[in-house]
């Protein structure tokens, strides 16, 4: 498994994955920076950082997963390298699992970067305009736990996007699915039914009602893990014609 992971990382290292990993959270940080500069009074740290997590969870995370899974899949679809990889004396599930692990790993890094970059952007805005320098305790441990739950709840949408991107050699089905899912996540963010909608499960980690958090986490994380294993098993078993 380590060999397959090492190969995936070397391929990703020479792709534009790093640009994507930095660009998406940077956009939220830039938005937070200018938004804070427009403010009249100093907001609490927790409010802005949680808002940043919210934007990440309902919009930027699903979009990033869509782009990232498409990128990882097209590293093989583009040069038509599946036949070569699948003919090697390596259990096929490892090839797909390595890709899935890389996607999850990058999502974790992007989620952490979102927090770090937003923190940095707010600090910078506070330095430039001391009147809006955030106040209070940022409570980073609580935010870290919240972000960890966001990533865990995103497992189901990652599994769905990953399977679609790898299953279809055209990027259109995966993009259409990702854009559609994100669209409904944005326009119906507060819908109670959203707790059952994979693209809204991450943002439900910020809900006030405990049942919504628990349900979205159980479905997104638990069912997501099962779905990811099933997706890998199916991809490894199916024939690529």
């Amino acid at each position: 498994m380590l060999a397959a992971l090492s190969v995936e990382l070397r391929k990703l290292n020479r792709s534009l994955a790093a640009v994507l990993a930095v660009a998406a959270p940077s956009l939220i940080a830039i938005f937070a920076f200018f938004n804070l500069l427009r403010a009249d009074k100093a907001p609490p740290w927790a409010m802005f950082l949680q808002a940043s997590t919210g934007i990440w969870a309902y919009f930027m995370l699903p979009m990033s997963v869509t782009a990232l899974t498409a990128l990882v899949a097209h590293m093989e679809h583009g040069p038509r390298s599946w036949d070569h990889l699948r003919a090697l004396p390596v259990p096929r599930w490892r090839l797909y699992a390595a890709k899935a692990v890389c996607v999850i790993g990058i999502v974790v890094i992007m989620t952490a970067l979102n927090l770090v970059l937003t923190f940095g952007a707010m600090s910078l805005a506070g330095t430039i305009k001391p009147a809006v320098a955030p106040i209070g305790d940022p409570d980073l441990s609580r935010l870290a736990l919240l972000n960890a739950k966001v990533v865990a709840a995103a497992l189901l949408l990652i599994a769905i996007q990953f399977w679609t991107a790898v299953r279809f050699s055209s990027f259109v089905p995966a993009l259409a699915l990702g854009i559609g899912g994100t669209f409904f996540s944005v326009v119906a963010t507060s819908a109670k039914e959203g707790v059952f909608f994979p693209w809204q499960m991450p943002v439900n980690m910020l809900a006030r009602e405990a049942w919504r958090i628990d349900t979205a986490l159980a479905l997104g994380g638990g069912l997501g893990l099962v779905a990811l294993i099933a997706a890998i098993a199916h991809l490894a078993r199916r024939e690529v014609l």
């Binding site: 070397r10 020479r14 093989e76 040069p79 390298s81």
Partner: protein
């Protein structure tokens, strides 16, 4: 005779279409086996089943005695493959591409240098594959297939898209492979000339069926001999020879088909005597060298044409 690849009743159905129909192929060890057939005849589907990339509907494929369906990984350890789609990462160098496969195979780094040396690609190994010519990609593909020195190489249309020099290089290279590396080579092609100059054994697939297989030299020897003549009057010569009950064909040249087992020299002498007696000038006469094309034309007739003929 040890066998490197063996298939038994190998069949594959895609919906209503039987793409491969009961192929029983035997590739002896250290042979260069040319797998011939028209485009769409079932060559690539057969190779994909040998490589375990697709499952047979019926039948089995064995590589070095290992059943591909039961022990895909064990069989895959014995095979290096060059497929029609190379699957190289254009943003990586040739060496980096090889290194990825070497890592998955668990090969040491020196193995990369060895295979680069074999295909004479060391000077270009540091360049990105996106800048490679098709010929260089084919050679890099061969190098990748040889990583770990597998005893069997499966090459799908290895001369596809190559220029004449590239084809000649590839031909020389493939011909020398069994001697240099001890490997068995199974190569598919629709180019008769290439197979004829490279292969020691051939298998002809037609509409999914293996219609002929064997050692090339023996298959040629098994063909009935033909004598080609150049005379002062081909029409008169043809009529004269037909009058003696001979099977005469007049196309580009005047050709007399003998029966299987007929000795060529006495036939040449007899034909010459007949024509000279009839005062027909004979400029040249001799046996026609039998080619793979002669063998192929006899067996590879599309089903549609067979049906029409019936």
């Amino acid at each position: 005779m040890s066998v490197a690849i063996e298939t038994e009743g190998l069949s594959r159905r895609f919906g209503p279409r039987l793409a491969v129909d009961g192929v029983a192929m035997t590739v002896p060890e250290r042979a260069v086996y040319g797998f011939l057939g028209r485009n769409g005849a079932g060559k690539t589907t057969t190779l994909k089943m040998v490589l375990g990339l697709i499952r047979p509907t019926f039948g089995a494929a064995r590589v070095c005695g290992l059943d591909v369906a039961r022990d895909r990984i064990g069989a895959a350890r014995k095979v290096g493959a060059l497929l029609e789609a190379h699957g190289f990462y254009g943003n990586l160098t040739g060496r980096e591409n090889l290194a990825l496969t070497a890592t998955l195979l668990g090969c040491p780094t020196r193995e990369i240098d060895r295979v680069l040396e074999v295909v004479e690609m060391r000077p270009d190994a540091g360049r990105k594959v996106a800048g490679y010519s098709l010929g260089m990609r084919q050679r890099l593909g061969l190098a990748r297939a040889m990583l770990g020195a597998p005893p069997v190489l499966v090459l799908d249309e290895p001369t596809n898209g190559l220029d004449p020099d590239g084809i000649a290089d590839m031909r020389r290279f493939l011909k020398s492979l069994p001697e240099r590396t001890g490997a068995t080579v199974l190569l598919s092609s629709h180019l008769l000339g290439e197979i004829e100059q490279t292969a020691t054994h051939v298998g002809v697939v037609n509409d999914g069926r293996l219609v002929l297989e064997g050692e090339l030299s023996r298959l040629k020897a098994d063909l009935a001999p033909e004598i080609v003549l150049r005379t002062g009057d081909d029409a008169r010569s043809a009529a004269l020879l037909r009058g003696h009950g001979l099977n005469v064909r007049v196309a580009d040249s005047l050709t007399v088909a003998l029966d299987l087992g007929d000795a060529v020299d006495p036939a040449v002498a007899g034909l010459t005597a007949l024509l000279v007696e009839a005062a027909v000038p004979v400029f040249a006469i001799g046996p026609r060298a039998r080619s793979l094309e002669d063998i192929y034309r006899r067996v590879a007739v599309p089903t549609v044409r067979q049906a029409e003929a019936a």
